[in-house]
């Protein structure tokens, strides 16, 4: 029982972490919270499912397909909407991304219908590790998310793109002065963040099995909780916060009841906002 709780928590936490780190880096460069973030997760899942159902693709092929589809959509949204949010008052960011969320979610529902779908793919063979039995897919999720976090840390610290990203996050005006193409960095970061969310969706689908158009909303709100708990803009804090939240949810779902699981995120959010506005893992200012 306890082992299951732990395994579920770590798996779900890794999933959340991938989504949340995308939102955190987007917030870093844009100072805007992406209310549509969960929709990219949802679209990743749907794109993969669509590839498998329609073209009978193997799961492994559907992953790059899903990432490409979501990246293309994110690029379009980035150019049409997100780019205009540079230097915009915060309410505009809230309302515009909320609008995008409505558009994406309901377009998917319009195309594929509002019913639950079954995801048929992935590696769900159980593996025995000591006394614990868990599916290969869960191991993949955890390993992949750790690798991606390591890679992301490397990209942000070492690459040219990562350095420009950090520069934009710190001071947009200065970047404008020295000739950094700020809109380009913003759109690039946005596409990267959304693609990470999509990857998370694709990796999770074999475990959660069912998918539906409205599934992004609860992911978005959980992501809020995670980035607030982890400290906005703090990449490793995001990972820890995601695990913490997912473990708590797992404990609550097991011992109190499944219906209370979704309340955990917001209770945590409100408690952290009230008592530790900078988050658990950083001393940064409120946002």
């Amino acid at each position: 029982m306890l082992m299951d709780v732990l395994v579920n928590g770590i798996t779900a936490g890794s999933v959340y972490a991938l989504v949340a780190v995308g939102m955190t880096i987007i917030f870093g460069v844009l100072r805007a919270i992406n209310f549509a973030h969960g929709e990219y997760y949802m679209m990743g899942t749907f794109a993969s499912w669509w590839g498998i159902e329609t073209f009978d693709l193997p799961y492994i092929v559907s992953i790059p397909l899903a990432l490409a589809v979501v990246a293309a959509i994110a690029l379009a949204i980035g150019l049409l909407v997100m780019r205009r949010l540079i230097d915009a008052p915060f309410q505009i960011g809230v309302v515009a991304t909320l609008g995008v969320s409505l558009i994406l979610q309901n377009t998917v529902i319009l195309i594929f219908g509002g019913t639950y779908k079954m995801f048929d793919g992935g590696w769900i063979e159980p593996v025995e590790i000591g006394s614990v039995s868990l599916s290969q897919q869960r191991i993949l999720i955890v390993v992949a998310s750790l690798l991606i976090f390591a890679a992301l840390e490397l990209v942000v610290r070492k690459t040219r793109f990562g350095k420009t990203m950090r520069a934009v996050a710190q001071n947009i005006e200065a970047c404008n002065v020295v000739g950094v193409d700020v809109p380009r960095v913003v759109v690039g970061t946005f596409v990267l963040g959304c693609t990470l969310a999509a990857l998370s969706g694709v990796l999770t689908a074999p475990v959660t099995v069912s998918l539906y158009g409205g599934m992004g909303t609860s992911i978005t709100v959980k992501t809020f909780a995670i980035i607030v708990i982890g400290g906005v803009g703090n990449v490793s804090g995001t990972l820890l916060a995601a695990w913490l939240l997912a473990l708590t949810e797992s404990v609550v779902a097991t011992y109190l009841g499944l219906q209370f699981r979704d309340g955990v995120a917001f209770t945590a959010l409100i408690v952290v906002l009230t008592f530790l506005p900078g988050g658990l893992f950083s001393k940064r200012e409120r946002f």
Binding site: L98, L102, L104, N106, T107, V221, F266
Partner: protein, 342 residues
């Protein structure tokens, strides 16, 4: 570094100063009321129903306009307060058989009272943190409504909420036909609009605008900013709670779906689309929303997509909302007055 917060452009873009067209406004309001009073004579039953719905949504929309358009805080808690008002009224009417007017007052009052302890942590926050925190209230309210089965009957919700009764010397009568509901809703909407105008045109309303414009500067002219933010938050909850109360007495059912993001988005479309920080804009917004949603009734997905497109287009293309745009087109623009004055 402590400096005065500079929120940059005022996205509201409204001009609250224009008192010169007072007469025109009163005439416009009177004409609207007259038209609405006459509407059931010509409108179909279905159209009357649509008008009732728009007047029900007008109340939480006015509340959102107060907290966002005037006090400058974007709150997603409006639908939570709407739901609290609705559940309060339904439970009172079902368990104690209390009269309608008491229920609606209690709905508003309870929502306002709940807002105060929620405001204590929430009002320490600004911008995104406040938005998320208030969004959290809606989610938690929904969780409670779903799980407190002994009181709320969970997902089933409450049904067969009694219809309003009007007490008269001969024992009174029950409001059950749609036209009586319509006039009740109209009366309530007029009262709400008048109350709203009274609040925003008072000295307190001026303080709220000052807080929206620049909180530090507002404190420097002696505004106890925290108190007025709290009052605005609680009053916005009262409007929403009263709206929820009428909602439940009209539809006679209430379930946790009332806390869904759909309704919160609807309020945003009404307030931002109509004209944030104006009274007429929000009235226009509620009717516009109902027209839109009824026109797209056959396809709820397309309706939501239309909402989404509308929100995106509004914030970038006309952040002031429709009313100021219309006003400018017909040439009674405050901006023009200014050009003449300077």
């Amino acid at each position: 570094m402590a400096s005065v917060s500079s929120h940059g452009v005022n996205t509201h873009g409204n001009y609250v100063y224009a008192n010169r067209q007072h007469g025109l406004r009163i005439a416009g309001f009177a004409a609207l009321v007259a038209a609405l009073a006459a509407a059931p004579l010509v409108a179909s039953e279905y159209q009357v129903h649509a008008l009732i719905v728009s007047m029900v949504f007008l109340l939480p929309a006015l509340g959102l306009n107060l907290i966002h358009g005037y006090a400058g805080m974007l709150s997603f808690a409006q639908m939570a307060f709407f739901g609290i008002g609705a559940y309060t009224s339904a439970l009172l009417a079902m368990r104690f058989g209390t009269p309608f007017w008491l229920n609606i007052a209690a709905g508003g009052l309870v929502a306002g009272l709940v807002a105060i302890p929620l405001g204590v942590p929430a009002l320490r926050l600004r911008r995104y943190s406040f938005v998320m925190c208030t969004l959290g209230f809606a989610v938690i309210a929904q969780t409670i409504a779903k799980n407190w089965v002994s009181v709320t009957r969970g997902d089933l919700g409450l049904s067969n909420v009694p219809r309003p009764r009007i007490a008269l010397w001969n024992g009174g009568f029950e409001i059950s036909d749609i036209k009586s509901y319509y006039y009740l809703a109209l009366m309530l909407a007029i009262l709400a609009v008048l109350a709203f105008i009274a609040i925003v045109s008072s000295a307190a309303g001026r303080y709220m605008i000052a807080i929206r414009e620049d909180e530090t500067l507002a404190a420097s002219v002696g505004t106890p900013t925290w108190h007025y933010r709290m009052i605005a938050f609680a009053l916005s909850a009262v409007f929403a709670g009263a709206g929820g109360s009428f909602y439940v007495h009209y539809f006679t059912v209430i379930s946790p779906t009332v806390f869904d993001p759909f309704y919160a988005n609807t309020l945003l479309v009404i307030v931002l689309g109509g004209g944030v920080g104006t009274v007429g804009g929000v009235i226009l917004g509620s009717f516009m929303f109902v027209a839109l949603s009824e026109a797209l009734r056959i396809a709820p997905d397309i309706r939501m997509i239309a909402y989404g497109v509308l929100l995106v287009v509004i914030v970038f293309a006309c952040p002031e909302g429709l009313l100021p745009l219309v006003m400018r087109k017909i040439g009674t623009s405050p901006a023009k007055e200014v050009a003449n004055a300077t």
